[in-house]
Subunit: 207 residues, 2 copies
């Protein structure tokens, strides 16, 4: 039955979306990514696995990168707090790194990321829509975390949150994706946390 | 004319390699990557651009990832010093970051890397052959740089060279490749250098 919520999600001219069908499609995508990789995944193979028709998928996602990105990095509400600020900068950075490792280390993420980046690199508008939306939200929340730590005197005034963010995201990407079949060493999160926290720690005499 | 040098490079049962043909093929690969991207590049299109036959290419490189990797990251002699140790840790780290940015920011590298990672992720043996050889040499030289700085007391004894290396490589990858059409900001090298150097600086009282 259409409700105000489902009506709001209804595509123009389309029928209301059934969340169970959405879930079945996204599960099929994750399974196929882990089993066969990004390159072999198609709307055809997803439809067969999920037990739906191809048009059912096209009504929801208009391209393979959009479908794969939502399956691998499920959309959350725009107001969701992705990087909580507990007032303990080191603990918050560690949690962000732990979450990033957990997210990138999943088989479906490792399988999807290089192919996804390849497809998106050829279509800047699609990339902006698919990746930048989520990444920019996380980046903006991280900037706020660094600003707050700076105001408390835990972080140097000239700390560049964007470079820190690139270093964290990039280090995890390098370990989990470029070397995707190598286990992430146990000390990796500790060491990366210490690097970031010590790298921007306020020096004696800074304040 | 075969010389002792060219004879040494001669494939088993093949004719001596002509360095001018090698160079023409590698130039064609770089041009086609920048113009059309990794996905559309084939031995056929490279052969046409370089004015050689496909078997001429296959005699030298047995797969597209091997060919593209050598075109984008030209092999140097095994004994080449890729990360010189001048005794000034901050300056050496800055130079390594500058070189990495310069290398990844080239249009052919940006165009090649996601597709190359995709192809290699499906073939661990080929990846080990293609990427790990060069990366492990650079990584080993960076470890030696960190060890030496540690012995001079410039770097903490527990500094983890591998995590530093991942952070540097990953931060540059994130900027140059994942966001490949965005210019790398002027302060990026400075800030990343400071992050690494301050992140592992010996603390007062460490020694």
């Amino acid at each position: 039955m259409p409700t105000p919520t489902s009506a709001a999600r209804r595509p123009v001219g389309g029928r209301p979306r059934d969340p169970q069908i959405d879930a079945a499609i996204l599960t099929a995508v994750r399974e196929l990514l882990a089993e066969e990789g990004y390159g072999r995944l198609s709307f055809e193979t997803v439809a067969r696995r999920a037990g739906v028709t191809r048009p059912t998928i096209y009504r929801r996602w208009s391209s393979k990168p959009q479908l794969v990105h939502e399956a691998v990095f499920p959309a959350r509400s725009d107001s969701a707090v992705l990087i909580p600020d507990t007032g303990d900068f080191a603990a918050d950075v560690r949690r962000m790194i732990t979450d990033t490792v957990a997210s990138y280390a999943r088989p479906e993420a490792r399988a999807a990321l290089p192919g996804l980046l390849t497809d998106l690199s050829q279509d800047p508008r699609l990339r902006a829509e698919v990746i930048d939306g989520l990444e920019n939200r996380v980046r903006e929340q991280f900037r706020a975390l660094v600003r707050a730590a700076c105001e408390r005197g835990a972080v140097r005034a000239d700390a560049d949150a964007d470079v820190l963010f690139d270093a964290v995201l990039g280090a995890v990407f390098t370990r989990a994706v470029a070397h995707y079949d190598i286990d992430i060493p146990a000390g990796f999160v500790d060491t990366l946390t210490a690097l970031v926290v010590d790298g921007v720690a306020a020096r004696a005499g800074d304040r």
